[in-house]
């Protein structure tokens, strides 16, 4: 049941004023912002998100949700792509700026206590919530393989971090500029075909996650997905971000963003 899915011991959300310590482009339209917010940084779990009030916006008022890419005792990092108003305005933030933040929010990945063979499947910026997961799995003694698809080599953001952390990485690019020429599901299908995968975690475009979930199901392997939805409150009150599941309508912001793939009733997207 999704309702039971909220992990024990996950921190309650806090409202804090974070300080921007750096904010830089890592490729043409992907940026990395670092925010100092010790209480949030030290309690956020892999797969959770924060809800940022991007202060420069006056006519567009809602907060923006972002997965946490990495966290230490003091700071969190957020990897973001310039896609619209909010992310453009976020890119204008400078070190020293203060930014209202609510977090940690949502239900993150389930991390087995016993060592497993995990397959992570990322599509583009879907890699963001997988980095903390890879680190946590590795700490727990699990082996981690990453199938990572992106349009171009330049957009395989952070791929070297996964390699350096000891993950087996298989890259796929739409233009063949790095790794296999083609969709990431080629790589995830191959890996699942070896029979050496115990659990699959995926984040990226929904059509890709749906395909990966189908591959995992066919291989008889558990799969968790991280779904993106437009949201207003981020804390479970407004019911904007619903995900239809076998247990009824669930909220991406509280019951998710991570769901067991078998529970999700996929839509037309």
């Amino acid at each position: 049941m999704c309702e039971e899915h909220r992990l024990d011991g996950q921190a309650r959300p806090m409202l804090r004023e974070a300080v921007v310590t750096s904010n830089e482009a890592v490729s043409a339209d992907v940026w990395l912002v670092t925010l100092e917010s010790p209480e949030v940084a030290s309690t956020v779990a892999p797969g959770q998100f924060v809800h940022l009030k991007i202060a420069t916006g006056r006519d567009f008022i809602l907060r923006r949700p972002f997965s946490v890419y990495s966290a230490d005792a003091e700071r969190i990092e957020i990897l973001y792509q310039l896609v619209g108003r909010g992310t453009h305005e976020l890119s204008l933030a400078e070190p020293g700026d203060r930014m209202d933040l609510i977090g940690p929010l949502g239900t993150g990945w389930e991390i087995p206590e016993a060592p497993v063979r995990a397959l992570l499947v990322a599509g583009g910026l879907g890699v963001a919530p997988l980095r903390m997961l890879a680190e946590a799995l590795t700490r727990a003694g699990s082996t981690v393989a990453l199938a990572y698809g992106a349009p171009t080599a330049e957009r395989l953001t952070g791929v070297e971090i996964f390699s350096a952390a000891g993950c087996q990485v298989m890259s796929c690019t739409d233009d063949g500029s790095a790794g296999t020429h083609g969709l990431v599901t080629l790589a995830s299908g191959d890996l699942l075909g070896t029979g050496e995968v115990d659990i699959v975690y995926t984040c990226g475009p929904e059509v890709m996650q749906r395909a990966v979930a189908a591959q995992a199901r066919d291989a008889g392997v558990r799969c968790q997905v991280s779904l993106e939805r437009l949201m207003a409150c981020g804390i479970g009150a407004c019911l904007s971000c619903i995900v239809p599941t076998t247990a009824g309508q669930r909220r991406a912001c509280v019951d998710g963003p991570v769901f067991n793939a078998e529970d999700v009733i996929w839509g037309d997207s």
Binding site: R12, P13, M14, L15, K53, D59, F60, I61, L62, R63, D100, I102, R229, L230, M231, A232, C233, G234, I235, G236, A237, C238, L239, S240, C241, I242, G248, Q249, V254, G267
Partner: protein
């Protein structure tokens, strides 16, 4: 600064302050309990409750627009029994001192009545807000709020079913909101609340598709404040019962505007999403607003608007003395 009496009365219900949460933006409070002190609120107005569970509308249900947002949630709720078992039980256990106003919905008048009768068996409810103005459901909802006859009929039926305070929530999607307010007043409503969202839409020009799956939805946020304020002024000029004003309120000065226009209390909606502390900030800000002007009671703001006509009359009266 001297102390300000922040209490206001809505029918028999006395609130510690005039700041409420708008239905549908605040759950029943539980979701906000980690972030703000709920005991600072004048009252919590719950998400809409219906007899049976409603699953709401397809996604996407939300779209941001200039200075506001559109929603087409469609009154998704788990039904009155689950509401009682979960939210009401939580409220009674955790914040019994904060007045709870339950927002009531139905596809038919019988459904409104059945929710109210069931809730009447339960303690811990201060009032009902009868929602005859949701633009996001096909049957019932706004249909009851757009004619005087239908609005009267629902109000009469709910009035006959309960002795508790009834607030009727009005739709702005009408030609003459004051006429509808007078109709529900005549049928025994203790107060009216307005405005619900304005029907609107938005289109994604990359895909040629509507931004909401239901195509149209309700517009809320600062974008609608001038319209809401105008309607609150019109309604409070037309009825004798208290008016609860809402629509784009995000600051204490916004709240003061609504009270000057005639509102006895105000509700904060979309601003809860932007900053969960907004309602509490407004409580503090309204107190400062009054204190700094030597106003001893916040209720003295209600209807304090000085229109050019009123100013001329006052000058005449003073001149004739």
């Amino acid at each position: 600064m001297h102390r300000v009496d922040m209490s206001v009365a809505i029918g028999d219900l006395v609130l510690a302050n005039p700041v409420l949460t708008a239905s549908g933006t605040f759950g029943s409070g539980k979701e906000y309990a980690d972030l703000i002190d709920l005991t600072r609120l004048g009252a919590i107005v719950t998400k809409g409750v219906s007899t049976s569970p409603w699953s709401g509308n397809p996604s996407p249900r939300m779209a941001e627009t200039a200075s506001g947002m559109l929603n087409s949630i469609g009154l998704q709720n788990p039904g009155v029994e689950r509401f009682i078992a979960d939210d009401l039980a939580w409220h009674r256990r955790s914040f019994p001192q904060v007045p709870l106003v339950v927002n009531v919905n139905g596809h038919t008048i019988d459904e409104y009545i059945s929710v109210v009768r069931r809730l009447d068996e339960e303690e811990g409810i201060s009032a009902y807000e009868v929602n005859i103005s949701c633009p996001n459901v096909d049957a019932g909802g706004m249909a009851f709020g757009t004619t005087c006859e239908a609005a009267s009929e629902v109000t009469r039926a709910v009035r006959a079913a309960t002795a508790r305070t009834i607030i009727v929530k009005l739709s702005p999607n009408v030609t003459d909101v004051a006429a509808i307010a007078r109709s529900v007043e005549a049928e025994g409503a203790d107060a009216v609340s307005l405005i619900n969202t304005l029907l609107g839409m938005a289109i994604d020009t990359r895909t040629f598709r509507p931004k909401l799956a239901r195509v149209v939805g309700g517009l809320s946020g600062p974008a609608i404040k001038p319209i809401a304020l105008r309607m609150v002024w019109q309604v409070s000029s037309a009825v004798g019962i208290p008016v609860i004003g809402m629509g784009g309120i995000a600051s204490a000065t916004d709240a003061a505007e609504f009270m000057l226009a005639g509102a006895t209390a105000v509700a904060v909606g979309t601003a809860n999403f932007v900053d969960p502390r907004t309602a509490v900030h407004i409580v503090d800000g309204l107190e400062d607003f009054c204190a700094s002007r030597g106003i001893g009671r916040v209720s003295d703001l209600t209807g304090g608007l000085i229109t050019p006509d009123a100013a001329a009359n006052r000058d005449r009266e003073e001149g004739s003395r």
